[in-house]
Symmetry: C2
Subunit: 228 residues, 2 copies
């Protein structure tokens, strides 16, 4: 590793950190090339030696944030010595906690994103990895009891099977795919409304709502009362 290469990676890392600091403090809109350069005691055009445009910088940060969220979820799901149901709840809780800890990053990922990111692959893959994690837990949770249960909508079942093979889990039954997708959309719905303050004036506890929804999906999947 050259001196130059070393310095370059250092500067790059500093740019990532400074960028996230700005975003966490004041939001993505506050991240300007000029502001970033100021934060690093640099001149603004120097930033362009690292990123061809502000949009490219934002795209880079976006994929990083996806990976961060994914790592947080993986760690939560990996906590061994628990029932699969409990690990699903941990995974979901880590999702919400990450969103609450980094609300601006979460909005960057799920609220403000507009341009599609490098190759459509770098971006969707991390989340698909998290989904694969969830699917594995649900398979473990459901045993083979759910293998024959369907969503009650034939066309949807077909889509779910197709989705499963895209996720590189071709064998999973529609009931598991349903549970995975619905857990994700339900939790995202609650968390994103919580973040935009939509629930603020109501005496509603998002954590309890999520618990209710996730337990409902799990109960639907395994067909019994949950114990832990």
């Amino acid at each position: 590793m050259n001196r130059r290469e070393r310095l370059r990676t250092q500067t790059l890392q500093e740019m990532r950190d400074a960028s996230f600091a700005i975003i966490d403090a004041d939001g993505l809109h506050a991240l300007s090339v000029a502001a970033l350069a100021r934060g690093m005691a640099m001149s603004a055009p120097a930033v362009y030696r690292y990123f061809p445009s502000r949009d490219a910088l934002v795209a880079h940060l976006t994929t990083l944030a996806y990976e961060q969220l994914m790592v947080a979820m993986s760690e939560a799901a990996a906590s061994g010595r628990r029932t699969p149901q409990a690990r699903v709840r941990l995974l979901v809780a880590s999702y919400r906690e990450w969103a609450l800890r980094y609300p601006w990053r979460y909005r960057m990922l799920f609220g403000e994103r507009t341009a599609d990111l490098p190759g459509d692959a770098g971006i969707r893959t991390p989340l698909d990895l998290a989904m694969a994690l969830l699917v594995d837990l649900l398979v473990a949770a459901s045993g083979d009891a759910s293998a024959r249960r369907t969503s009650g909508d034939q066309a949807l079942d077909e889509q779910l099977r197709s989705w499963a093979s895209i996720q590189e889990r071709p064998g999973i039954p529609p009931a598991v795919a349903t549970a995975a997708i619905l857990i994700w959309t339900r939790v995202h719905g609650i968390v994103s409304l919580e973040l935009t303050g939509m629930l603020d004036n109501h005496p509603l506890d998002a954590e309890r709502l999520i618990r209710l929804e996730v337990d409902g999906a799990l109960r639907q999947l395994v067909g019994s009362t949950l114990s832990g």
Copy 2:
């Protein structure tokens, strides 16, 4: 009505229209005071005779968009001569259709909003009206069968009762409140992921997912298989 007053309201209306045209075309970020003025063949500072800042303009447009969505939902829910369940489905479908027809406005409401709007009242009220609509339909749908059903979480039930009285529907049972809130968060979750393209690469039909979720909530509420 003065000539001046007439002209003023006309220009104001033109500003609203031109603003939404820009937003619908290229998103909220494309709405600059300068661009708006250009679109009206006006000089930029003239806009400040109508709005003290770009943020104030955006706030005004946001409350308008909330009202538009609310009106669309009211009309859908008002279609008489249907079962309450069917009208709930119509209401939900109109929500999604509005979001798909005006994706940028939807993001403006639920994705990018950050500063709280005039008095916290002008903004939350329209949505609360839509929720009241939904609650009424659900009350009609559930009969009194659900009066004693709870969410299974005592603290949450208490919150739901409190929420009901804030909605000026103090008598409604927790089961109805649960259904109303969960329908909203579920549908929002699916629609918002659909809009950000998160479901694009998956062969999943958002409409079917919503149907599944809404029907599930209704079934949970009325405790029977749905027929209409």
